[in-house]
């Protein structure tokens, strides 16, 4: 089990069921302390009581230091995370979460055009307050199958954004004209998209020329990604996959292997363990070359091959 001291402990302060399928969970520190800061577009991992780990975008205003708000759409045929958050989690429960990470930073130094498909609206919700305050030009296209499926339409209207958001309902009206959106971008304008894979693929196909001005966010960021490599623990026979975004130490801890560690930066050598087979990539800063033939520091080091064997 992941240890609470290695995560941010939050309590579900309030749940807003905004329609039949979507609920907002507001998470705070149990004593009302500020939470680690985040920026618009960031996400956190939620450690569900069942042991599942799921990524959710933060949908609240980053200026509000004491709350993480996530929006969860119930996916009846999904992998179980959203069902658990809908059916088993109630106000007052504790949830462990990761530090916020941002792989989709939404800037406000240049004109911003956002395209949201369905629940893909969530990362944009954290950007809207500061965009509105900054006076930066921005447009939000919110696409959904029907009006009823645009769960956040009432909230956006309440925020006074009724005219700045363009709604597109594919069942009743014309679909979003992507080419038009792209050709309408100003020379320094950035395009941000979050939504179902089909939509992101279409955007990526059509916006080749945008280069670094195109930003896309896939759902469930690391979920289901192929492991970068795996670690075989020689003594127990256990095989631990290490995901691309993870350190070897994080993967071992997630697999319940009790690893000592202190600096997590390759200096103190506390996490040092013997390696037996494979091709390690050593990244610590303090071992002698001959020690590296025998030892590895999982906090920073990796594997050049698909499998690394440790004496654990």
């Amino acid at each position: 089990m992941v240890k609470s001291i290695h995560r941010v402990t939050t309590r579900v302060m309030r749940i807003d069921q905004i329609d039949a399928r979507v609920r907002l969970l507001h998470l705070q520190d149990p004593d009302g302390w500020d939470l680690p800061p985040f920026t618009a577009g960031a996400h956190i991992d939620i450690h569900l009581p069942s042991g599942l780990i799921r990524q959710y975008s933060l949908s609240g205003d980053p200026a509000r230091g004491d709350t993480y708000t996530i929006a969860v759409q119930r996916q009846d045929d999904g992998r179980g995370g959203s069902r658990e958050l809908h059916d088993n989690v109630i106000a007052g429960d504790e949830l462990l979460v990761s530090l916020p990470r941002n792989t989709f930073p939404i800037g406000k130094d240049a004109p911003v055009t956002m395209v949201a498909g369905g629940i893909g609206i969530t990362p944009f919700l954290s950007a809207l307050p500061s965009l509105m305050a900054s006076g930066q030009t921005f447009t939000l296209h919110y696409c959904a199958r029907t009006v009823e499926r645009a769960s956040f339409m009432p909230m956006l209207k309440e925020m006074g954004l009724g005219d700045r958001v363009q709604f597109h309902f594919s069942e009743t009206g014309p679909r979003l004209d992507l080419e038009r959106v792209i050709s309408d971008l100003t020379e320094d304008g950035h395009l941000y998209c979050c939504g179902p894979t089909r939509m992101l693929d279409a955007v990526e196909l059509k916006s080749d020329d945008l280069g670094a001005r195109l930003h896309v966010e896939h759902f469930g960021v690391a979920a289901g990604a192929d492991p970068a490599y795996e670690v075989l623990l020689a003594r127990s026979g256990q095989v631990v996959p290490v995901a691309p975004e993870q350190t070897m130490l994080q993967a071992l801890r997630a697999a319940d292997v009790d690893m000592p560690a202190s600096c997590e930066g390759g200096v103190c050598l506390e996490c040092r363990c013997r390696w037996l087979d494979g091709t390690p990539i050593h990244r610590e800063l303090t071992m002698t070359l001959s020690d590296r033939d025998e030892w590895i520091t999982p906090c920073v080091s990796g594997s050049a091959g698909p499998r690394l064997t440790l004496d654990l």
């Binding site: 001291i5 941010v8 402990t9 004593d31 302390w33 920026t39 530090l99 990470r101 202190s262 600096c263």
Partner: protein
């Protein structure tokens, strides 16, 4: 060794990763830690490996200034994640020695090592530039209240 320094900042946080809060005073409990701080409540990131010598931690204001001067990094006192910001105290020379903070006495146990988490928490790339100047760990020999502006002197 002779020096007279001062307490320039006091900071606590109840759990790992949470931002530290600036305080006007702190209550030191002999042999235990700081009231309301993560290390005294076993809520720190490293509390699965408790360490007697980490009841209170110190950081030099001069290091914050050096980071700004030499690396253009602005690290605020409440961001270095130690409990006391000092001025005029040669922390790196004090391992194994006792010194007074206001009316309290502490004994330095080892230099603090930086932790990679500080980069995640602050969003600044500072791990490497903090090596060898990440502060000092100490245990509390005589408890009591310490305040901003208190003198720090050898015992």
């Amino acid at each position: 060794m002779k020096f007279t320094g001062k307490v320039e900042g006091l900071h606590v946080t109840p759990r790992s990763f949470l931002p530290m809060r600036n305080m006007g005073s702190l209550e030191l409990v002999e042999g235990l830690g700081i009231e309301g701080d993560r290390h005294s409540m076993n809520e720190a990131f490293h509390s699965d490996r408790p360490e007697e010598g980490r009841q209170i931690t110190f950081f030099e204001a001069e290091t914050l200034e050096a980071l700004k001067r030499d690396h253009d990094i602005i690290l605020r006192p409440e961001q270095h994640r130690r409990n006391v910001t000092t001025r005029g105290v040669p922390l790196n020379h004090l391992v194994g020695r006792r010194f007074r903070v206001g009316s309290c006495v502490v004994e330095a146990t080892r230099l603090s090592t930086p932790c990679r988490h500080i980069e995640q928490i602050t969003g600044l790339e500072i791990y490497e530039v903090l090596l060898h100047r990440a502060g000092l760990n100490a245990k509390i020999v005589k408890g009591g209240q310490i305040h901003l502006g208190d003198f720090i002197e050898p015992e």
